[in-house]
């Protein structure tokens, strides 16, 4: 479904030129849960931008669902992002002072989904993302971090994208809340067959995926199956009962 072949990305020109990606090639099949990890400066953000169709590679080809997106214009890329990709950001990026439902419906506005269908789909996405119904009409700034990130996941889901791209989704969350969010992603992958690419620099977050791709200095240094992915739901249960106050916040 995702085919990257010999992707490079160079910023600047001449003496100042800096090559962030130096020939990346890999394939991600439908239904995979892949972690891309690497320290800062490894090129994982640049790679995320290219996979997310926010940027185009300097050379190489990127085929997303049988379409070559590596030479598309800005507006063509916007179309692809609208239909094929759901983003989950580290900084959440919900619209402030706006209800949960409206936030989730936002991608449908640009996708020209009829108004009466939007709310139905947004509710379904929120349920899949594990947010309880009584929070649907809350304003985004009245929610806890874990709830906010699940709203963001619902927003990524609502357009039924081919790929969910999560960029450090737990970066602003505490460990317990991180597990809840990871659990949500795992459930979407296992139960609903969603293709998920998780970008992180933390190994213990990355290990929740079924496949690990490690980057260093703009190259893939390892691409391997994870034989024993960590199970976020199980780990959450370890927290349960030990700290009631945290558990309450999460519900």
């Amino acid at each position: 479904m995702i085919e990257l072949s010999d992707i490079t990305k160079t910023y600047g020109e001449g003496q100042e030129a800096y090559t962030a990606l130096k020939g990346i090639s890999f394939t991600i099949r439908e239904g995979e849960f892949v972690s891309i990890m690497g320290p800062s400066g490894s090129g994982k953000s640049t790679l995320m931008h290219i996979i997310g169709c926010l940027d185009t590679p300097s050379s190489g080809t990127y085929v997303l669902e049988d379409r070559d997106v590596s030479t598309m214009t800005d507006d063509e890329l916007a179309e692809v992002r609208k239909d094929k990709i759901g983003f989950v950001f580290q900084a959440f990026n919900l619209l402030p002072r706006t209800t949960v439902l409206r936030n989730v419906m936002l991608p449908l506005v640009y996708a020209n989904v009829p108004e009466e269908e939007r709310e139905r789909r947004a509710r379904a996405a929120l349920v899949s993302a594990g947010l309880s119904e009584d929070h649907f009409s809350h304003l985004s700034n009245q929610l806890s971090g874990g709830q906010i990130q699940r709203v963001a996941i619902a927003r990524a889901l609502v357009n039924d994208p081919a790929l969910i791209l999560a960029d450090e989704p737990t970066g602003n969350l505490d460990s317990k809340t991180s597990l809840v969010v990871l659990g949500t992603l795992q459930k979407l992958n296992r139960a609903h067959g969603r293709t998920i690419v998780l970008i992180t620099h933390e190994p213990d977050i990355a290990e929740h995926a079924d496949r690990l791709i490690r980057l260093r200095d703009g190259r893939v240094v390892a691409d391997e199956k994870n034989p024993t992915p960590r199970d976020a739901t199980q780990e959450t249960k370890l927290y349960d009962g030990t700290d009631e106050s945290v558990t309450n916040k999460l519900s």
Binding site: A78, F87, A91, N93, V109, Y110, N112
Partner: protein, 411 residues
């Protein structure tokens, strides 16, 4: 993105910062309101002036004598002082085609007296047709007729100012018909009192006494001095005024034996010329007022641009997110442009209402009857929408051109 969505998004964005939106709108409100109010005042002044010119009479031409000159380099007596118009000129003019009414005038100032009071004012000898030519209406009695003129009767029609000067402030409500007045020591009988007409330019007919032309020429002009001070002509229609003016000019030139029109011993004042001259002055004035108000509108527009630029910076991450989830450049451009246009449109609506209110207030003070025209309202709306587009364009373009990666990272 449907229109409905656009309205929703615009409302949400503008109501997110009500004070800022309100102040920005206020700039436009002041601009539009001043444009509306000032053009209304200008328009009102224009109407007042043309109305007062038209109240002089309809389709009016006035023939006046030229300047009296002695031969050589002698002193000029000033325009109107020459004795060049005669009662026979008046009769000849009546024969010109499309002339519906003619009245000669012999005017001079005399002392008017009744028992215990006197005044000095213009005594105007005219024909019966003068009342129609000059739109005179009567409060009491009737106007002069041609029989009185031919039989040299000593009768007078007086203006309301003359009446109050002679008989006190309540004179117009008492019956004055039949009263006697002395004009230059000759006894005249009052046969009518004219309705108050109000000031019309420099002279007011309210402060005049009218007597039959024949009587005036007989008793005041004297033997061998049978000249008219003015001949009033009413043309049959507004369209025929130029033709009448040309024909009368040609007629008088030939009657006075003058071959060079530049040496004419008379001049013709065309009421239409007066109206158009006056309205060109007032419309220049109106344009000037509108231009001054327009400057405040531009300042309001700059306020819009300022707010929109601040908005783009503040909402950088929101723009990044919208782009990430599939908004195109056009979507972002439209959204920000819609916000700017909404601000100016709301400002325009309130401004029109406020300007209208201000015009009513000005009218209520009685100085000028301000008139809000539908053109100025339409223009105000058009201009305010245009300002939204012009001043919203640059911020919207900036927002649309943002790179989503940079916008998402913006702190």
């Amino acid at each position: 993105m449907t229109t409905n969505d656009l309205v929703d998004e615009t409302y949400a964005a503008l109501s997110a910062n009500k004070v800022r939106s309100g102040l920005t709108i206020l700039g436009i409100v002041i601009g539009i309101a001043s444009v509306i109010a000032l053009t209304a005042i200008g328009q009102g002044a224009q109407n007042t002036i043309s109305n007062s010119i038209n109240s002089l009479g309809s389709n009016l031409l006035e023939v006046m004598p030229g300047a009296a000159r002695t031969f050589g380099f002698g002193a000029s007596g000033g325009r109107g002082s020459a004795k060049s118009l005669t009662p026979s000129d008046e009769i000849a003019i009546a024969g010109v085609s499309n002339v519906s009414l003619v009245s000669g005038e012999y005017a001079a100032r005399y002392q008017i007296a009744v028992a215990g009071a006197n005044t000095n004012t213009t005594v105007d000898g005219v024909n019966g047709s003068y009342a129609t030519i000059r739109n005179i209406t009567m409060a009491q009695g009737s106007f002069l007729n041609d029989v009185e003129s031919q039989s040299l009767q000593k009768v007078a029609v007086i203006g309301s100012t003359v009446a109050t000067d002679l008989w006190g402030p309540n004179a117009t409500s008492t019956n004055l018909v039949g009263d006697k007045i002395r004009i230059n020591n000759l006894l005249f009988t009052v046969i009518g009192l004219m309705s108050t007409k109000g000031g019309s330019g420099f002279g007011s007919q309210d402060n005049e006494v009218f007597i039959p032309l024949g009587t005036a020429l007989q008793y005041f002009a004297g033997e061998g001095n049978q000249y008219l001070s003015t001949i009033d002509i009413q043309a049959a229609s507004q369209q025929s005024m130029t033709q009448v003016q040309n024909d009368v000019t040609a007629l008088l030139l030939s009657r006075h034996g003058i071959s060079d029109p530049t040496k004419a011993d008379f001049s013709i004042l065309n009421q239409q010329d007066l109206v158009s001259a006056a309205s060109s002055v007032t419309s220049t004035f109106t344009t000037l007022l509108a231009a001054v108000a327009g400057i405040s509108l531009i300042v309001g527009g700059i306020g819009i641009m300022n707010m929109m630029l601040t908005n783009v910076t503040e909402r950088m991450r929101e723009i990044g997110l919208r782009k990430a989830i599939g908004a195109t450049r056009a979507d972002i451009n439209t959204q920000f442009l819609a916000e700017a246009v909404a601000l100016t449109f709301i400002g325009g609506t309130i401004g029109v209402a406020l300007g209208w209110g201000a015009s009513y207030l000005v009218t209520a003070t009685g100085v000028v009857t301000a008139q809000v025209t539908s053109q100025s309202v339409l223009l105000a709306f058009g201009v305010s929408a245009a300002i939204g587009i012009v001043f919203g364009w640059y911020p919207a373009r900036r927002a649309a051109a943002l790179n989503p990666i940079d916008a998402l990272r913006y702190e």
